[in-house]
Amino acid sequence: MDKNNKLLVVENLKTHFKTEDGEVKAVNGLSFELDYGETLSIVGESGSGKSVTVLSLMRLLDENGYIADGKLIYKGEDLKNLPDNKMRKIRGKEIAMIFQEPMTALNPLFTIGFQIMEPIKIHLNKKDKEAKQMAIGLLKKVGIPEPEKRVDQYPHELSGGMRQRAMIAMALSCNPKILIADEPTTALDVTIQAQILELIKELQKEYGMAVIFITHDLGVVAEVSDRAVVMYGGEVFEQGNIIEIFKKPKNPYTWGLMNSIPRLDLEKERLWAIPGSVPSAAKFPKGCKFSNRCFLKDDKCINDHPELIEVEKNHLSRCFKIKELENEIIKVRSGDSL
């Protein structure tokens, strides 16, 4: 496929942090592509590097973090080498972001109207009056009742769900090509989560933007995305079409994650449990990063580092034991149906 036709191509991204314990490789050779209008989920537990990936993309890393290597090609242009003033024109206008905790992402000292108007004034060169009308229109679009009144309120006067809607309004204000949603519903109640997911889907249809969804919730992944990237230890472990991944996972980590969640639609006597927990960034094992927790590991996994390979068309996995996993899945699933 011609890479120039993709909206965004991330190639071999490496993001490192300088810490007291030395250099920490938070993202280690990550590659993915994003098409116009599609929804991509980045899935992983805490410490998998999923948030760092998008912060690198937005060039919003902390001072001790830097992009060590790789390319971030947006519409044929590498964001990594873009001067700050040009990056500022992309950030918020072409690529917008919503965050997990709407209370800390909004400034408590300014009205939400002011905060929504800010990108409109900067990127679209609108005057106050017109910008305010646009802000009211956006608030209405994201389903905030009485937008004329709300536009002059402060973040603390809004509920959690409302704040998240205001953030979405702000992100949409300049009609971005990519919307990055970093755990947008994790802090919300389920009934509110359902509202917000529905809203994002509707707006995506209307605006035709691509969405990168960062989440640890496989339910949300299945609900919203077309494709998914499963991350562990700063690497892609599995990547592919969402139905393929859920039906035929090719990586023991994905399979373990899918099995360890309690399900509303299935009855399980006992949950599958991945042993141990995600190590801190400097303490991953040297072979396969999942080898210390994997139920299929052998000496090869402990000593050698597996490469990301294309198992089926457009379905990638980083594992030496794909055949064994396939047999295991067949065994478990046939047991389910008995």
Binding site: A194, G219, M258, L264, D265
Partner: protein, 391 residues
């Protein structure tokens, strides 16, 4: 004790927090966090309490354990009224008058016969208390409830334990694991000296921690390991009832399933009874035998797991189930999207508190608050139109 008998009984529990304002800090309003809930927990069962933030599920758990003093209501453990255990003199007097004396005198004036009053009560504890009241008066009741208060308090604390949500703030950072887990053992004189170390090491092995870590501090552990320490601490005094307040919600997916499995195993091994409080209906479904769904301080539906998921009666339960995304990309059933937010518990809507968001609300719902009614055997729902909303 046998399975199937009642371990904990909660009658008309209320917890109101006063809202103060102005220079004299006058009470201007009450936040009705828990508003008149009643339920029973049987030996060996797990009662799941589920609801969104602000529905009062945690307050209910804390009030049962008397980490909050309830505003009113009765909490009975193993057939003993434990309500006045942590009250002061005036509160105790007030409680006895409000809960027992007033009811018995009302019944007496209605039925005109003490024996009839006693036989009209359908609770063995109530019968016993009525007999004491009619033979010895208020002082008899007081004697019954507050004699040997210290040892009763200690017993209550030994039999009920809690596991908290946040494994970071619920362990004292200055205490070693040995002391965190061993504190209860020492206080309740279960063991002393070197035996405490052995008991703690055993407990650590039971919850899946290496006993080499016994002299470590909490910061040396990961979130999942800390939650295991919290569980070991709760187990240390051999409790009957454990309240798990969002015990797995702060954990990563893969660690969450480990802890759920651990809680399951320990329940069998130690004959435990759980009240499992969580906002995640899928977790609740996995672990519970019976489930109470709460909304704005009230139980809106209460039944065993099978009938709740087969035949949900309350429109809120139905919407909650449909709102949860299923991890199956091919199962994209239509969701019920509830309108609006959960109202503030300071400003609870009139009538049925769910009516502003309810998809089938009618005029009566705005005016009359529905009672929790038994719609089929053991299945309670508080809705004027129970069972009429399906998806």
């Amino acid at each position: 004790m046998k399975k199937g008998t009642t371990l904990l009984k909660v009658d008309n529990l209320k917890k109101y927090f006063p809202v103060r304002a102005g220079i004299f800090k006058r009470v201007v309003n009450h936040l009705k966090a828990v508003d008149d809930i009643s339920f029973e927990v049987k030996y060996g069962e797990t009662l799941g309490v589920v609801g969104e933030s602000g529905c009062g599920k945690s307050t209910a758990g804390m009030s049962i354990l008397r980490l909050y003093e309830p505003t009113s209501g009765r909490i009975t453990l193993k057939g003993v009224d434990t309500t006045p255990l942590f009250m002061n003199f005036f509160q105790t007097n007030n409680y006895i008058k409000e809960f027992y004396v007033k009811r018995y005198t009302d019944l007496l004036s209605e039925l005109a016969n003490k024996d009839k009053v006693i036989s009209s009560l359908n609770d063995t504890l109530d019968e016993k208390m009525a007999e004491i009241y009619f033979s010895k008066g208020i002082n008899g009741l007081k004697e019954e409830l507050t004699s040997k208060l210290q040892s009763k308090r200690k017993m209550f604390r030994k039999e009920t334990q809690i596991i908290f949500q946040d494994p970071y703030s619920s362990l004292n950072p200055r205490m070693r694991i040995r002391n965190i887990i061993g504190e209860g053992i020492k206080t309740h004189n279960i063991a002393s000296g070197k035996d405490i170390d052995n008991l703690v090491a055993d407990l650590m092995a039971k919850v899946g921690l290496s006993k080499d870590y016994i002299y470590r501090y909490p910061h040396q552990f990961s979130g999942g390991q800390r939650q295991r320490i919290g569980i070991a601490r709760a187990l240390a005094v051999n409790p009957k009832l454990i309240v798990a307040d969002e015990a797995v919600s702060a954990l990563d997916v893969s660690v969450q399933s480990q802890v759920i499995n651990l809680l399951d195993d320990l329940k069998k091994e130690f004959d435990l009874t759980y009240i499992f409080i969580a906002h995640d209906l899928a977790v609740i479904k996995h672990i519970s035998d019976r489930i109470a769904v709460m909304y704005l301080g009230k139980i809106v539906e209460l039944t065993d797991k099978q009938s709740l998921f087969k035949k949900p009666q309350h429109p809120y339960t139905v919407s909650l189930m449909s709102a949860i995304p299923v991890p199956d990309p091919e199962n994209k059933s239509k969701r019920i999207i509830l309108k609006g937010d959960v109202p503030s518990p300071l400003n609870i809507p009139s009538g049925c508190s769910f009516h502003p968001r309810c998809p089938i609300a009618k005029d009566i719902c705005k005016k009359e608050s529905p009672q929790l009614k038994e719609v089929s055997s053991g299945h309670f729902s508080s809705c004027h139109y129970s069972g009429e909303f399906k998806y």
